[in-house]
Symmetry: C2
Subunit: 361 residues, 2 copies
């Protein structure tokens, strides 16, 4: 048995050991093809099968039909911050953004470089401790789209419901909570997510774009920057990030084996209940930073009474094999990132450590 740490990294993050074992097993000779999947042409039947199966698994697990294009692109979610306004905001139009954290604000800023943006809500003045109530989101009716970030990785907040936007397309960055729970993904005209948190490894970004939204795109962009190019070729216009798509397929199959998104959501609910329970049981020592209604099920952020204690917490945890607990450099503190591949047993270990650490102080 290999000694493995409990990995609370915020992304790239833990992968299911079952998935890593399959990757290892197949690495030199992929399914008797006489070569590694890393050496397969993207035009070979081996990879085309992976591409097609991954598209089908995404649609099946998220409850989407063929009216959604499923794309696998390089460049990270940050690239989409620029490409979304470039593709979808026509001359003289604008889009609206909900500003709930550092990444939401980055998306907004990129939009402002290429077009006009309306801020539909911001919790910046409240140190991003919460997401809005639906009634607080305000925007003009003729916008190109409304953009939200469903889970704020750095700040530890998450949307539990999403606005009904009627004819206004709703676009979501779901990098840090996609496929972690069941919800009506059909509410969204576009969803995008870097794979390195809940869907696999860094280097591939999943995009879901409804056909009606894609039809509203602008023309005249460089070929590679237009979503139409990739939608028309099922992400095979140029060489795709093959290994990332392959791992995404394995992770989706693993999620399916856990009962799909409903099953995954139950496990994630039990995990967050246990961890927030430990925080709330010692509120003078473990101080959750997000408002309770806005707490994320994926990134659990907290402070301790002093920074020295936080440093000791992180160092002591590491000795016990609990790693990746340092809060983002912009906010400090402690952060447990508990994506799909972190198990309930992992959380039990963390909670046990928290009790022990508190007593020792």
């Amino acid at each position: 048995m290999v000694k493995r740490n409990v990995n609370f990294n915020p992304g790239p993050a833990a992968l299911p050991l079952d998935v890593l074992n399959i990757v290892r097993e197949e690495l030199i000779n992929y399914q008797s093809s006489g070569m590694s999947i890393l050496e397969s042409s993207h035009r070979a039947k081996e990879f085309e099968a992976i591409n097609d199966q991954t598209i089908m698994l995404v649609r099946e697990l998220l409850g989407l039909g063929a009216d959604y294009h499923v794309l696998f692109l390089g460049g990270g979610a940050s690239t989409q911050f620029a490409l979304i306004p470039m593709n979808f905001i026509g001359d003289g139009k604008m889009a609206a953004y909900v500003d709930t954290g550092e990444f939401a604000a980055k998306a907004l800023k990129e939009c402002q470089i290429v077009a006009k943006a309306h801020v539909a809500f911001s919790s910046k003045e409240e140190q991003y401790r919460r997401v809005p109530k639906m009634s607080e989101i305000k925007y003009p009716e003729d916008i190109a789209y409304l953009h939200v970030c469903s889970n704020n990785t750095i700040e530890g907040t998450q949307f539990r419901e999403f606005p009904n936007t009627g004819s206004v397309p709703l676009v979501a960055d779901m990098s840090s909570d996609i496929a972690s729970r069941w919800l009506d993904y059909r509410k969204f005209s576009m969803i995008y997510a870097g794979a390195q948190k809940n869907l696999g490894v860094a280097g591939v970004t999943l995009l879901l774009i409804h056909d009606d939204f894609l039809a509203k795109r602008k023309n005249g962009l460089p070929t590679i920057l237009s979503y139409k190019t990739h939608a028309d070729k099922k992400s095979l216009y140029n060489t795709p990030p093959i290994f990332g798509v392959y791992i995404m397929k394995l992770v989706l199959e693993w999620i399916k084996s856990k009962g799909g998104l409903a099953g995954m959501g139950k496990i994630n609910a039990a995990k967050k209940d246990l961890l927030y329970g430990a925080i709330d049981a010692a509120p003078d020592f473990y101080k959750g930073t997000a408002e309770k209604d806005s707490r994320s099920w994926m990134n659990v952020t907290l402070r301790l009474p002093t920074q020295d204690m936080e440093d000791k917490f992180i160092a002591d945890a590491k000795k016990e094999g609990l790693i990746g607990l340092k809060g983002h450099r912009s906010v400090g503190g402690i952060r447990f990132s508990i994506y799909n591949a972190v198990s309930l047993v992992d959380i039990q270990k963390a909670v046990e450590f928290m009790g022990k650490f508190h007593k020792s102080c």
Copy 2:
């Protein structure tokens, strides 16, 4: 022993078995870190060391100093077709392009979408059977840069020398021949190359940008589309394609063990001599498609007397474990892609098969 095919895929392509074995060995527990490199944060010391070492290896092997930024980006070389003119052609200026094949023409076309382009040479009318003599390349003196594609993967041609452009920055797409031979890489203001041919796996593109050229960039681009962003952060502005950089490091170490680019170039020269020798020994049967002076050392393209014979050649070769030989769909015929990881022994097997096949016809 695992049965491995001889892989002549044009990219993604063969990897050194030594590299695959290291990846497999380290996959579950990277250097006693208690996790896979696939699970490492890009801010962790494990990955920062890989990033720094890969930068140093690139500079060492290619003979470049700290005046070249070494970047690892997602999106493929095709993304650079758009980003280069977006970053470097100022208002009212233009760039010049040498049109020697399908990918060179794609780069030109993307430039024409965002700016003006001058065609400095084209062999399109000659079915791209050759690259230019240096004296044939003509362009106005005030262009932003001159763009060449050093090796034409589809057409099987390659530059053996490069123009002296004086104060005009020289930019090269070296996707299919980077690190395959020693040359003065310092002639270039910018070099870019998808990794999936000579440097590893799909999903990461190597960029080398001289500081003086970067200083000439335009401002006002979306953050993620500006090369300055990535140069300032050593490719760590957003999550990089971690696995691709890790593999590139292993491939560069493998190249170093072969005597660096001088050693690699000798091996590649012996490989192409053997393969072109077999073609030229039966010129009425094996017809090389590139003009002799322009022949590529990386992609050896040929036709047989009939398409039926070509189909049989590919099918019979496959039975002997020689795969990836079908010419690109746009030109047909046979193509041996013989990048760094294809060995001289592999070529001997191919040549032996060619002799046998010819006799059987």
